[in-house]
Symmetry: C2
Subunit: 400 residues, 2 copies
Amino acid sequence: MSGPLEGVKIVEFTSVVLGPWACQILGDMGADVIKIEPPAGDTNRHLGPHNVNGDMSALFLTCNRNKRSIVLDLKTPEGKEAALKLAAQADVMIHNFRPRAMDRLGLDYGTIRKINPDIIYCATYGYSKKGPYGDKGALDDSIQAGSGIAMLMSMVEGEPRYLPTILADKTTGMAVVNAVTAALFYRERHGRGQEIEVPMYETMVSFVMVEHLWGQTFDPPIGKAGYTRLMSLHRRPYKTKDGYIAVLPYWDNHWKTFCEVVERPDMLTDPRFRDMKTRLANIDVSYAETGKALAKKTTQEWLDLFRPTNVPHMVVNTLDGLIDDPQLTETGFWQMADHPTEGRIRMAKTPYNFSESPTEIRRLPPRLGQQSAEILREAGYSDDKIQQMFDRSITKGPSS
Amino acid sequence: MSGPLEGVKIVEFTSVVLGPWACQILGDMGADVIKIEPPAGDTNRHLGPHNVNGDMSALFLTCNRNKRSIVLDLKTPEGKEAALKLAAQADVMIHNFRPRAMDRLGLDYGTIRKINPDIIYCATYGYSKKGPYGDKGALDDSIQAGSGIAMLMSMVEGEPRYLPTILADKTTGMAVVNAVTAALFYRERHGRGQEIEVPMYETMVSFVMVEHLWGQTFDPPIGKAGYTRLMSLHRRPYKTKDGYIAVLPYWDNHWKTFCEVVERPDMLTDPRFRDMKTRLANIDVSYAETGKALAKKTTQEWLDLFRPTNVPHMVVNTLDGLIDDPQLTETGFWQMADHPTEGRIRMAKTPYNFSESPTEIRRLPPRLGQQSAEILREAGYSDDKIQQMFDRSITKGPSS
């Protein structure tokens, strides 16, 4: 068993993070993912530290397991023909070229559906092609700027800045998985494929505005956009005597217990903190008083005191601290494997647990073109023809 | 047509953001979602500004369209019996109670599968129940603290803080949609349901570490975790003469064009900026020099200069500015509707475009218990029995 999507064949024409990570999740859930790379490879092969080979860098390794790699030079007629053959045999095709570029390559939906009418064809790029920004290029940072995230940070910090995570790429990658799996269900039930567009900009505005639409939820607006609590200066992990702790006395029953544990009965009777609504109206002072109360003991002392209670609390982990985290260790979250060329590598397991169709890491991240010959053979190419394609650099493998 | 998941019946036992937003996405994609609420309603009904009714606040409205609401007091035998009846008729059940709480309620997978062996039963909560944190409570902030996000901010700012968006809830919500739609595909193909667990903590660590695993991708590690570029002090929208702009000369061809447009040939020949790799090694000075170059003209002047080029660039939108954004306006992103009780409301459309199974907003966010009677009738209850349940406060409607 290899996950709920076992038996689904996906061809991927993507690079960097959005498309590759989305396709990895689909591969993690069991799909057979064929990654079609240009002769120079996915640019992310070179991003981040590497151990042995320069084209097997950290950011490539975290986005490209559970897939096979074939090199095709799409600018040659033979390379394009092979790509069309693979698309003809696939259930799903995913690309992250801009609409005009895909038209120029001759790999647009109109062309593909002629050779594979039931394919699910998913395009993901910066902005919906139906709008004026339709053919604009995009990177994670520009979408963070466009979708209001950078300015949201200025409400906290005084100046706009990007969040220190590739939020737009990864969120849109999850949206691609949402849309493609839903279309797979639809095709299984109704027998028809379709074209799907998942634009980064629209996906991120929709994501940001879940909680931040706020006063603009109404027309005319009854206030500005922006969920005030999230912008509070004091909304942060609290300093203890020797470090930090996250404590969130959110509901009324949390608040009551919290005031008891920190021995601050005055905070319980203070009319500003009477219930969730009044605490939200006085959020800055509520957070500030919570912080003052927590400064009086060490992190470990507070952890011991809050553990038996229902008040949400948590250690504040560093990135490196996650490697030895007890919850992750005990649940086998970090999966170690000996990569045939890159040495021992660490991978995060799929965080969803399926009882009937469990997922597993079946394939380690491939070298560039590692399965070029194998995939061409599956597509019906003869060994002679494959050799010609290698000789003429239309395809290549890791040692060529 | 109402989306790729038309015909799928989902019962939702969730509140706040994670579960409700996930179920809204499933409803947006066509599923018939029944939201089972306690007599006091989803607590988020009271979160954020409201126009008419206090239990129809902003954050409830953005997470609860395309579903129907029924009130059931699960602490009464009759309320629980009705919940079991609804679960028996559903394709999918989603809850966000902690494992022990769901056992106590008698709505655990073991019980539900006895009355509906093929159900897809998805539980989403803080930490995988298999680990030592398994029954710990969680809120968005505590998961941000646990999963390294708060400390990531301290690498940028000097002190840990939470991101100003409910990242853990929303990302895990999308993960729920991923897992549930994949399981729906599996059930359609193989005829079997299953239990799914989608824990927030594990989902967020996996999300954060896509790019931040970095040197820890290898064992032994060849460096620390953390993608350095994202922590650069100068990685932010650049100041222009009169505002801000996002400009990202990322690839080598972008960089060349950028240096020409800003008339800085020295930056093109500077060995520190020769290619992507050297620019990444000198990321702080590379960003700083880019910023200096962009300080010399107004935002509009730069937009006009960069528009004809391939360099990714973007205006830096405020949240309120998104309401009138030209791309969003032209693509019909903001959908306005006259809510029968709350006045005119604004909603973001589903950002995915399906050519064959388009989605639409079929139902506006319901008042508490708006469809209590209708749903009980569908479940086979007689009008007399329904009236008794209203009389005994086991269920209620908006006017009761």
